[in-house]
């Protein structure tokens, strides 16, 4: 029986990892679903949904030769999820400021308390080594509306973090 797994792969970045990984999965009879790859701090990272008629350890074996060759760490989880489960965001939140510990925790705690479900989050540290800046974008669904989020963010802004909320009104045509 075909089932879905979440495959997480981490390693030192180099060209050809996605190609090698997906080729091994394809040859092994797997089908890919949604995936998200990011280069984080020079590391290659990917999470991808893999559907295959096999046990988790068999799926791991498919990727083992490549993992050895490229020194990748591979993790496999059986998942309940399936495709066509997208949720539509109704707000985008752009955050930036001088980097310091606690920005993400403070911003997301305020947002969660105001009814935000985060659907997508991406962040970077930019600027210079001496003066790093933290930049984050979030797409989410504000259960109680964007106005409630604005109010909840006032203390964050007072602390010197720039936060911009943009309602998302998805056009369907």
């Amino acid at each position: 029986m075909k089932r879905w797994y979440m495959v997480t792969v981490v390693g030192k970045d180099r060209p050809g990892i996605v190609a090698g990984l997906t080729e091994a999965l394809y040859r092994g009879g797997a089908n890919l679903g949604e995936a998200s790859m990011a280069r984080l701090g020079g590391n290659f990272t990917i999470m991808l949904m893999v559907q295959i008629d096999a046990e988790a350890n068999e799926l791991e074996r498919l990727m083992a030769p490549l993992a050895r060759e490229l020194a990748l760490r591979v993790h496999v989880d059986a998942i309940e999820g399936r495709l066509h489960e997208h949720l539509e965001p109704n707000v985008r939140i752009a955050v930036y400021g001088a980097d310091r510990p606690g920005i993400v925790a403070q911003v997301t705690e305020a947002l969660a308390g105001a009814g935000l479900n985060i659907l997508d989050l991406e962040s970077d540290v930019a600027g210079t080594e001496a003066e790093p800046i933290y930049i984050m974008t979030i797409d989410g669904y504000a259960r109680d509306g964007v106005g409630v989020l604005e109010a909840a963010l006032a203390p964050i802004r007072a602390g010197g973090i720039e936060v911009r909320l943009t309602p998302i009104d998805t056009l369907v045509g």
């Binding site: 066509h84 997208h86 539509e88 965001p89 985008r92 752009a94 930036y96 997508d120 991406e122 930049i135 974008t137 797409d139 911009r164 943009t166 998302i168 009104d169 998805t170 056009l171 369907v172 045509g173």
Partner: protein, 165 residues
């Protein structure tokens, strides 16, 4: 009026260029009525182009008047539409009846001026801004075989624009 079947990508017909309308007769009026009935059958849908229902003619309808706080021209019937001017660039999120279960960010002109014929063949000009301009550009793309998937931009592009503009 009839609610017509909407084509879904990967139906290759959605990628073809539609032909100009030359006959302004009862058939056109019937198609316009069916397009409107089909658009209204989908809650939240603000526009529909003839090729989306398998009619490969340069016809689209747009009506964003139901959206709160949006400047609009009411119900637009666009036959053989042509964009005369465009300006500005705004990124916004779009979805499409012909591309179920996906939405993405697309850069569009923030304001456009267009000329189109109406149901009787008379020429009209419209100025559209913001959300309505986006809807018109989305529908006009269909007439050239383009989907919003052809114009996706990343969130990163969006953020840079917003920060540094």
């Amino acid at each position: 009026m009839a609610v017509l079947e909407v084509l879904h990508y990967p139906d290759a017909r959605l990628k073809q260029v539609s032909a100009p309308v030359t006959e302004f007769a009862a058939d056109l009026r019937r198609l316009l009525a069916d397009l409107e009935a089909t658009m209204r059958a989908y809650p939240g849908c603000v526009g529909l182009a003839a090729p989306q229902v398998g009619r490969f003619q340069r016809i689209a309808i747009v009506d964003v008047s139901s959206r709160p706080g949006v400047r609009h021209n009411g119900r637009l019937v666009l036959v053989n539409p042509q964009v005369l001017e465009r300006g500005g660039e705004v990124v916004g999120r779009e979805g499409c009846l012909s591309v179920p279960d996906y939405t993405g960010n697309v850069a569009r002109a923030g304001h456009i001026r267009l000329r189109a014929q109406d149901a009787t063949g008379g020429y009209r000009e419209y100025g559209c801004v913001d959300y309505e301009a986006r809807a018109v550009q989305h529908e006009l793309d269909h007439l050239d075989g383009l989907l919003f998937l052809d114009r996706l931009v990343s969130r990163r592009d969006l953020f840079r624009r917003k920060v540094y503009k």
